[in-house]
């Protein structure tokens, strides 16, 4: 599953907090499903690219999940004042934060974000979140939020296919 997401989009927050966290516990942890986060920062959001940089930097030091959770849970706060750095710093140690800041300032993360964005365009992603399911050679792109119960039924059907 590839999830094209924007950290400043309210629907992406809903998908993450209500569905994808349970998905990670029930399907990703057990290896039944691979979940890939793809950055798709929409131009209309002032801080989503900044947030994507921090999340990518955190992922490089093994703290991607914690930072993703912090960014989504505090979305309403940092989108008002742009304090992405402070939001991330609240969940990392000083040493980890120093590494993240160095990576963000290094300026190498934008290329990876742009690569995700370009990949999204090949799937004709035009809104976030968009989830692209890959199973046995078939591709199923879905836009928007789905409840965990509905997603579970779909995944069970896909996994039961031979």
């Amino acid at each position: 599953m590839e999830v094209f997401s924007d950290f400043q989009c309210p629907a992406c927050k809903t998908l993450f907090t209500t569905t994808n966290r349970r998905l990670m516990d029930d399907y990703v942890s057990s290896g039944k499903v691979y979940l890939v986060h793809r950055d798709f920062p929409l131009p209309m959001h002032a801080y989503s690219r900044v947030a994507a940089r921090y999340a990518r930097a955190a992922a490089q030091i093994g703290k991607g999940e914690a930072v993703e959770q912090a960014l989504f849970q505090n979305q309403e706060k940092w989108e008002q004042n742009g304090d992405v750095d402070g939001t991330v710093a609240a969940v990392l140690s000083a040493a980890e934060m120093a590494k993240v800041r160095a990576l963000v300032k290094g300026g190498t993360l934008d290329a990876a974000i742009d690569k995700d964005y370009a990949l999204g365009q090949t799937y004709r992603v035009n809104q976030t979140p968009t989830t692209v399911f890959h199973s046995k050679g078939q591709t199923y792109p879905f836009s928007g939020v789905m409840t965990y119960e509905i997603l579970k039924q779909f995944l069970d059907q896909l996994l039961s296919q031979k």
């Binding site: 309210p10 629907a11 809903t14 035009n126 809104q127 199923y140 792109p141 879905f142 836009s143 928007g144 939020v145 789905m146 409840t147 509905i150 039924q153 779909f154 059907q157």
Partner: protein, 173 residues
């Protein structure tokens, strides 16, 4: 005997109202059910795509912060079907006064909720056609215009119904 022409201004207005409102209602219901996801086969993917679209619509209904979770679910699961059925009934013209009145009431409801959201500066999507569309002053103006169309169509439908049908046989002296 009152005379009635098949093509007076009121009847033309009723026809325009029926075509415009029926088209908008049918498209709005269709969009909520089938856009942006529609995978017709296999059947489980079709069911998933419809469920996902209704879930997305439920998120948009919830964003108005007006209904309980049960109310949100009820509206999200019934409104798209109701819009399609009402649009078709309006197009057919059977029992026009009833369906025109109902559509006017629904438009009044839509206008009330979008006006409230606009006046409260709620930064949300309209949800009118299921695709992301920020709720702005234009949304309020558009819904107001559609309400006016529905209202006049209904009033004219009641007025015209009092007259003999233009194609009915003339009354005997």
């Amino acid at each position: 005997m009152m005379q009635s022409s098949p093509l007076n201004a009121r009847r033309i207005f009723i026809w325009i109202g029926r075509l415009v409102l029926a088209g908008i209602f049918i498209y709005a219901g269709y969009a909520k059910l089938f856009l942006p996801n529609f995978i017709p086969w296999p059947l489980f993917a079709l069911r998933f795509s419809l469920s996902t679209n209704l879930s997305n619509f439920a998120v948009q209904v919830e964003s108005y912060k007006l209904l309980s979770p049960g109310g949100v679910s009820f509206v999200a699961r019934t409104l798209p079907f109701a819009e399609i059925i009402l649009g078709l009934l309006l197009l057919i013209g059977w029992q026009l006064r009833i369906w025109a009145s109902l559509i006017t009431l629904i438009m009044l409801g839509f206008l009330s909720v979008v006006s409230r959201a606009y006046l409260l500066h709620m930064n949300i999507n309209c949800g009118c056609f299921a695709t992301p569309e920020p709720l702005t002053g234009m949304t309020v103006v558009r819904d107001g215009a559609l309400l006016a169309l529905a209202l006049f169509m209904t009033i004219f439908a009641f007025i015209e119904a009092r007259k003999p049908h233009p194609w009915s046989a003339p009354e005997k002296a």
